[in-house]
C-alpha cells in the first residue's frame, strides 16, 4: 500500500541523511521525498511517499519518531488529504507543434513559463496521476527534459501538522 508520511524535523545539518539513512538501512522504499524549511525556520517539513504493508508502515513511523531530531510524524494518507507535485517540462516547440502543445497545456491548466523560438518550458502542478497523464498526452519525441518535485501533502480540514 502507498502511504504519504509527513514529518517535522529540526532544521539541523545531517537531518535529511538521518531520515534517508534510516530508509536504506532498514530496507524501506522511498518513492519520493521532499523537504524544505517551514514558516518556523528552525524546522523543516518532509513529505515521504513510501509503500509497504501495514506492519512495515507502522515500523516506519515508529522508527522515524525514534530519530532524536524528528518532532512529529503523521501518515497523512490515513485520512482525507491533498497531494500536489510540481512538474517542469522542456519540450521542442516548432512549427505546428507550438499551437498543439499550447492547447494541451491549456487543457491541463499548465502554464508556459519560458519561450524560445524552438522550445517551451511548461509548469504544471497536480497529483501524480495528473502529471503522468499530461506527459502521456505529449508526443514523447518532443519532450527534451522533465523534472518533478516529488509530492507535497497536507491533510484536509482541521487535520493540522504543527508543533
Amino acid at each position: 500500500m502507498r502511504h504519504v508520511i509527513s514529518l517535522l524535523i529540526e532544521n539541523e545539518s545531517g537531518a535529511l541523511s538521518r531520515v534517508s539513512g534510516l530508509f536504506s538501512a532498514r530496507g524501506y522504499n522511498i518513492e519520493s521525498l521532499t523537504v524544505a524549511p517551514t514558516e518556523d525556520a528552525s524546522m523543516s517539513r518532509m513529505t515521504i511517499v513510501t509503500t509497504g504493508s501495514d506492519e512495515i508502515i507502522e515500523q516506519i513511523t515508529k522508527q522515524l519518531n525514534k530519530l532524536v531530531e524528528v518532532v512529529k510524524v503523521v501518515d497523512i494518507s490515513e485520512a482525507a488529504h491533498i497531494e500536489r507535485e510540481l512538474l517542469l517540462a522542456k519540450v521542442r516547440a516548432t512549427g505546428k507543434d507550438r499551437e498543439e502543445i499550447k492547447r494541451t497545456a491549456d487543457i491541463f491548466r499548465a502554464r508556459i513559463i519560458d519561450v524560445t523560438d524552438v522550445s517551451y518550458v511548461i509548469e504544471l502542478t497536480g497529483n501524480q496521476a495528473k502529471l503522468d497523464a499530461f506527459l502521456d498526452a505529449l508526443d514523447p519525441a518532443l519532450i527534451l527534459e522533465t523534472v518533478r518535485s516529488g509530492i507535497c501533502g497536507i491533510g484536509r480540514g482541521d487535520r493540522i501538522l504543527k508543533l
Binding site: S13, G14, G21, Q63, K66, V68, E69
Partner: protein, 570 residues
Amino acid sequence: MVLTGAEIVIRCLQEEKVEHVFGYPGGAVLFIYDALFQQEQVRHVLVRHEQAAVHAADGYARSTQKVGVALVTSGPGATNAVTGIATAFCDSIPMVIISGQVPTAAIGQDAFQEVDTVGITRPCVKHNFLVKDVRDIAVTMKKAFYLAKSGRPGPVLVDIPKDVSMHRCEFEYPKEISMRSYNPVVKGHQGQIRKAVQLLLEAKRPMIYTGGGVVLADAAESLTRLTRLLGCPITNTLMGLGGYPASDRQYLGMPGMHGTFEANMAMQYSDVLLAVGARFDDRVIGSPEHFAEEPRKIIHIDIDPSSISKRVRVDIPIVGDVREVLDEMIRQIESGEARPDREALAAWWKQVEAWRARECMVFKNSDDIIKPQFVIQKLWEVTGGEAIVTSDVGQHQMWAAQYYRFDQPRRWLNSGGLGTMGVGLPYAMGAKLANPDRQVACVTGEGSIQMNIQELSTCRQFRLPIKVCLLNNGYLGMVRQWQELFHGGRYSESYMDSLPDFAALARAYGHVGIRVDKPADVEGALREAFTTHKDELVFLDFQVDPTENVYPMVQGGKGLTEMILSAEDL
C-alpha cells in the same frame, strides 16, 4: 569564566560526575588531553587500541548505572571506535564518545586523519553531533549525556574539531535540558496496565520472558516481586541474565538458540506471555512463523515503541519505563481482590517440571580431559556466584551464560546483539575500575582474546586484577560446531594453528600465567587465582575438550521447540 573548548569538555565531564574516561590521544584531541592533564577529578585510562577504549567504557556502564565515556582522536581513532560504538548501540548501553575532528576549515578537504565521523557512526549511535562553535560545546555535552541515559539508552557521539577545542568562550553548564523533538515516555498507560494485569491473573499457563531492558532499567527487584506474586515460571534472555535470581525455583534458565528445554517449551506453550524489556530476537524465538503457530496472548512492556510488534504481533503493548510499569502492575495486584488461578498454576507447573526433568543441561564430565562446562561450574563455586563475569563471543560465551548462575543484575557482561569478539577483556577492565572490590572474571576463547589481547598491557599499567579464564580448544568453536552440524564436517578456517603459549604471554606482560591441562587441577588453579594472586591479573589457560559442542541447540531458522538436546539427538 572564560575557558577553551577543551577545558569546557573536561568541565562538562566533571559536572556529569564522570570518574573514568577511556581513551587514546592523537593530533585532533591534543587540546582536550592537555586540559585533562591539568586536573585530577577525571581519571584517564590509556588503552592500547581505540576499540578497547569504547568497549571498556561500555563495560563500565554495563556494570554500573553510569554513562561510560570514551575519548578518541579523528580519522583512524574514530574508525577504530566504530565497532565499540555499534556493540554498545545493539545492546542499548548509555555512553558518550568524544572524538576529535580536523579543524573546521579543513573539513571536507581530505585532510590528514580526516573521516566523516558523524556520517560513519550515524547508523550505530542513538544520536551524534558535530560541534562547529565553541559556544555550543556545553549544551551539546549536556544533551549527549541526557540522550545517552534517558529513554532507551544508547551511545551518543560528540565530534569536536580541533580549532573548536582551542577557541575560548564563557563557560556555563546548563542545569537542565529539554528538547522539543525528544520526549521519551516513562509512565505506562494505566488502562493497558490494567488489562495486562487482568489477563495475567486469569491466565492458565502464564510465563514471563525478560531481556536486557530489565537490567538497564534497574528493575530486577520489581521483576522478582511481580514474578513471586504471579507464581509463574520465568526466563531471562542472554542480555537479561541476573534480572531474576537464576538459583530460584521459578527460574527456567535462558531461552532461545542455546536455551533450556523447559524455557523454550514454556515460551511456546504458555497461554499468556509477559515480555519485559525484550525484543523477540531471532536468537530467542527462532522462526517467528513457528512461534506464532501456538495461540497465546502477548503483553509487551518496552520503553521503545519500535520494539513492540516488530517481529511478533503483540496483544497488549505497554510503552514505558520497565520499572515504573512493573511497579504499577504490582500495585494494582496488591490493591485488588483477584489472585492467580492456583489450580491452573499447579497443573502448569506439573507440566513445566516434567520438561525440567529432561535435565537438558547435564553434560558428561571426564577425568581425562577438561570439559568447558566444568570450568564454568567451578568458577561459579570458587567465586560463590558473586563475581562479575564478562565474556567474548562463541561457545565459551554460551557455556558461561548457561552454567554460571547469575542471581544479580549487572554481573554478566557480554555483547549480545552485535556479537563482537574481543569485548571480554576490555569489559572486564571497565567493570573492575567501576567495581574495585568485586571479583571480575573474563571467560574467553583463544580466538576472541586475541582480538584485544594488547589490553593486557593496559591491565598492567592500571593494576587491574582481572582473572582471565581462557577455554582453549584450539578452534573457533562456534564456527566449528556449525561446520560439524551443518556443513558436513568441513572445518573451513576454523582451526587456529600456531597459538601462543598464553600463560607465557601473560607473564611477558607482567601478569601471572597458569596453564591447566587436567580436570583435577581446575579448581585448584581457580582458587590460586582468586586467593593467592588476588591482587594480580591471572591468565588461566584451560586446555579444554576441542570436540565439545554447545547444547541444547535450536538450528537457525527453526522453531523454538525443534531442539537438539544433546549430541545423541543428531
